[in-house]
């Protein structure tokens, strides 16, 4: 029983990272109607740069690199819109290309080595459950960012504009809301949040150049688990995925636990609640 409780706690702490990745995922999904496949690549890039420079400067440089990569994605998005491409599928195809390019860049510069740094060696025991201080920091940071985004979306003018642009882009445009600018900004914010997630993973389990796509998928799975409506659901989706993954990792094999996020995504997709547009309703 204590073992199960420990697994569950570990899962909640792990899930906070998925929740953190799910935040920008759901923001992009709602405001642009598309997926930024490069999200996981921003995280890996931040971790790679952060581990090379090290310390606080490394964290700052890592976040800077992730922001720069996300700015490139935002520029690509703006460019595609300018030449008249606005199908979500083409935008996500372009972000897929960026993800591949960033992964290849990381492989070229850093090689296949894993990026991992340890800030704490001791383990705390709370009520008989062992937890690492770093995972508590991860949880606190993720929770803080969730609060910031929630506040931003539901308590500020910017958030109101974003929600308006998400619900009715054409109407928002007519009301003088700069929809394209907001959407571009959403892509850039994905770089910041993805970068923070990457730095947190760097100080916890670590990652390597192949992690990008699976981080994107985990974030996406978390974002859609309870329906892509707002940051709180996305975060809770991340927590649930973390708990299920930790439980299956503790009780079954590694391959099974790696399957869990994928099975969750498949079941949610097959249930047909994602994407809104169904066959019969896809005429404008």
């Amino acid at each position: 029983m204590a073992y199960l409780a420990e697994l569950a706690v570990r899962g909640v702490l792990l899930g906070a990272i998925y929740g953190l990745l799910a935040l920008p995922m759901s923001l992009t999904f709602v405001t642009v109607g598309s997926i930024d496949f490069a999200l996981g690549a921003y995280a890996v890039l931040a971790a790679a740069v952060g581990s090379t420079i090290g310390g606080v400067a490394g964290v700052a440089a890592g976040l800077g690199a992730a922001l720069a990569a996300a700015a490139a994605m935002a520029a690509i998005f703006a460019g595609l819109k300018r030449v008249g491409v606005d199908e979500p599928i083409t935008i996500s195809l372009a972000s897929f290309g960026l993800a591949v390019a960033i992964g290849s860049l990381i492989l070229w510069v850093w090689g296949t080595r894993a990026f991992v740094l340890h800030s704490f060696d001791d383990v705390w025991v709370l009520l008989g459950i062992r937890v690492g201080p770093q995972s508590l920091i991860n949880f606190a940071v993720s929770l803080l960012l969730l609060a910031v985004i929630h506040f931003l979306l539901y308590r500020t003018g910017l958030g109101r504009m974003m929600r308006a642009a998400a619900i009715n882009p054409a109407g928002a445009e007519l009301s003088g809301i700069p929809v394209t600018t907001l959407q571009t900004g959403t892509f850039v914010s994905g770089g910041l949040l993805g970068g923070i997630a990457g730095v947190l993973i760097l100080f916890s389990a670590g990652l390597d150049f192949t992690a990008g796509l699976s981080l994107t998928l985990s974030g996406f799975g978390a974002a859609i688990l309870f329906g892509a409506h707002g940051p709180l659901r996305a975060f809770l989706g991340g927590i649930l995925m973390g708990v299920v993954e930790a439980l299956s990792a503790g009780l079954a094999s590694g391959a099974v636990s790696a399957m869990v996020p994928l099975v969750v995504i498949m079941v949610v997709l097959a249930a047909g609640t994602v994407g809104g547009v169904r066959f019969s309703g896809d005429r404008p």
Binding site: I76, V83, E87, F96, G97, V100, F279, D282
Partner: protein, 305 residues
């Protein structure tokens, strides 16, 4: 004659492949590259069919190729089947899996379907890596029997033959009422349903056909290189063929094949294997920004093809 007049793509392909074969046959290294390009072209053709005609952006074609390759490898290595006997299995297993997946998700929005294929691809990779007894795990399978191992030009001819059959089937599909129904679905799904088209069924069938083509590509790969590991096909190939399709043009039948040739030749000029993704990803973005319908799309707009 009228039969072939309506099927110019197959003829163009055969002529081009014969010319390329004649040039490449002088140099063993180039013949090797040409064979790899034809295998890639077969998988690229499959992604062209799913995206260009059925509107399904598939990130799983490399995984279907991997399934075809592993099927034939396991049947020939562990059960001692002849490679020719294993070919139908290597084609039909990916097709069955593709049909099942498409039936599950074909009614959804395009983005959701794309993510489902990406998820499937990640699942296949985990299975290949962890099912040690059957797939050899990380180590992979070595010593797969080769076919037509005399002169590589014979294998080139075999690969081109399979590719030509795939192009002919694709062309016949597009000329049939099913092809016209696919075109209607892409333009207006509600209209297609009103016309009495069984939309999810038809999309799933097209997806299964594409998966079968990818499986044939995997069969060629396994029996040419005679070695398989989880990294040899799979996600990386899925991404490359997507790019080949975008570069060549998804709507045209031969676009993905042209893309495979162009990128296959250009990739020889790259300084290192690691930068391939950088080049591929960058080219994908540039083509989307500059020539959305691909290079063959440009040609067709000028009225040349």
């Amino acid at each position: 004659m009228t039969y072939w007049r309506a099927r110019t793509n197959t003829l163009v392909l055969l002529a081009g492949a014969a010319l390329a074969g004649a040039v490449a046959a002088r140099d063993a290294a180039w013949l090797d590259i040409a064979i790899a390009i034809v295998i890639n072209a077969l998988v690229a053709l499959s992604v062209g069919l799913t995206f260009g005609q059925a509107g399904i952006l598939s990130a799983a074609q490399g995984s279907f190729a991997a399934i075809g390759a592993y099927t034939t490898a396991i049947l020939t290595l562990k059960l001692g089947w002849s490679p020719w006997l294993a070919l139908p299995a290597a084609i039909s297993l990916p097709a069955a899996l593709g049909y099942g997946l498409a039936r599950l998700v074909a009614r959804l929005a395009p983005l959701a379907v794309a993510l489902a294929t990406l998820t499937l691809s990640a699942m296949v990779e985990i299975v290949l890596r962890s099912w040690d007894d059957l797939t050899g795990g990380y180590v992979g399978l070595a010593g797969i029997p080769t076919v037509l191992s005399g002169h590589p030009i014979a294998f080139y001819a075999l690969a081109v033959g399979l590719l030509a059959i795939a192009v002919l089937v694709y062309e016949n599909l597009m000329l049939s009422r099913f092809g016209r129904a696919l075109t209607t679905i892409r333009a207006d799904r509600a209209r297609a349903m009103a016309d009495g088209v069984a939309v999810p069924g038809l999309l799933s069938a097209a997806f299964a056909l594409a998966a079968a083509m990818a499986g044939a590509g995997g069969w060629l790969y396994a029996h040419y290189f005679s070695y398989l590991s989880p990294g040899s096909l799979g996600t990386e190939l899925s991404i490359s063929v997507l790019l080949m399709m975008v570069v060549g043009g998804a709507r045209t039948i031969l676009g993905p094949v042209a893309g495979a040739v162009i990128l296959g030749v250009l990739a020889q000029l790259l300084p290192a294997q690691e930068v391939q993704g950088l080049f591929y990803g960058g080219a994908l973005i540039v083509i989307l920004l500059v020539a959305r319908n691909g290079l063959l799309g440009l040609v067709r707009r000028e009225g040349a093809l």
